[in-house]
Amino acid sequence: MTTLHTVNKSPFEKTSLDKCLQYAGGNSAVLLIEDGVYAAVKGTDVEPRIKTALDSVKVYVLGPDLNARGFSDGRVIEGISVVDYAGFVDLAAENAKVQAWL
């Protein structure tokens, strides 16, 4: 079953992202929202974990949450797709269910 996993916590403060990546299966999509977007930025200590995850899952980041925090699309790790709210809706519709990692 395809699942959209959402992560809304900072990877520096909570284990939400790491746990999500441990459980998310091959057909899954992972969407970073709210403070979860910090994991999408290049050059952080989290980047190696995200790059490993990109080998097996699709990773997206919500643009409005990224821009709110002062990061442009250009700061995002290659391989991660930036989506807007309509893209969020599409991802929710495309997948059989949504699982939130709080």
Binding site: E13, Y38, G70
Partner: protein, 136 residues
């Protein structure tokens, strides 16, 4: 009446917008600034994200409170310490942060930098030296 000046340290460890801590801390600092105490701000861990420039909250329906940091100098808040290790972990440099200044009355209102980047050992000493620590 004798007046005791205490060294207040506001310790910021949370990212902005995801929770209310960052904004509330700023509100408390501005209120506290009216009481003529010796105020310092420390930004460690995700707190360093509060000071990044270019916040645009138009599409998340929240107030962008980051411009308020620029007003701190006018409230005599001129000691803002940022931890180098926290910046490094997040792939950030001083260039990613707002340039915050205060005006020195004694030097013809020359603008001076408010932000000082310190290492973890120095930050520990700053915490140790504070009379009161407010955590956010």
């Amino acid at each position: 009446m004798s007046e005791t000046i205490k060294n207040f340290l506001y310790l910021n460890r949370r990212a902005p917008y995801g929770s209310i801590y960052a904004w509330e801390a700023l509100e408390v600092v501005l209120i506290g600034a009216a009481f003529d105490q010796d105020v310092s701000l420390a930004f460690v861990d995700d707190g360093v994200y509060q000071l990044t420039k270019g916040h645009n909250t138009a599409d998340i329906g929240m107030k962008n409170f980051s411009p308020t940091f620029a007003a701190l100098g006018d409230y005599e808040v001129k000691k803002i310490f940022i931890e180098q290790e926290s910046l490094d972990e997040r792939g950030l440099t001083l260039d990613d942060l707002q340039h915050l200044v205060w005006e020195d009355e004694d030097e013809d209102y020359a603008e001076k930098d408010s932000i000082k980047v310190v290492n973890r050992t120095e930050m520990a000493a700053i915490m140790d030296g504070a009379d009161v620590v407010f955590s956010f």
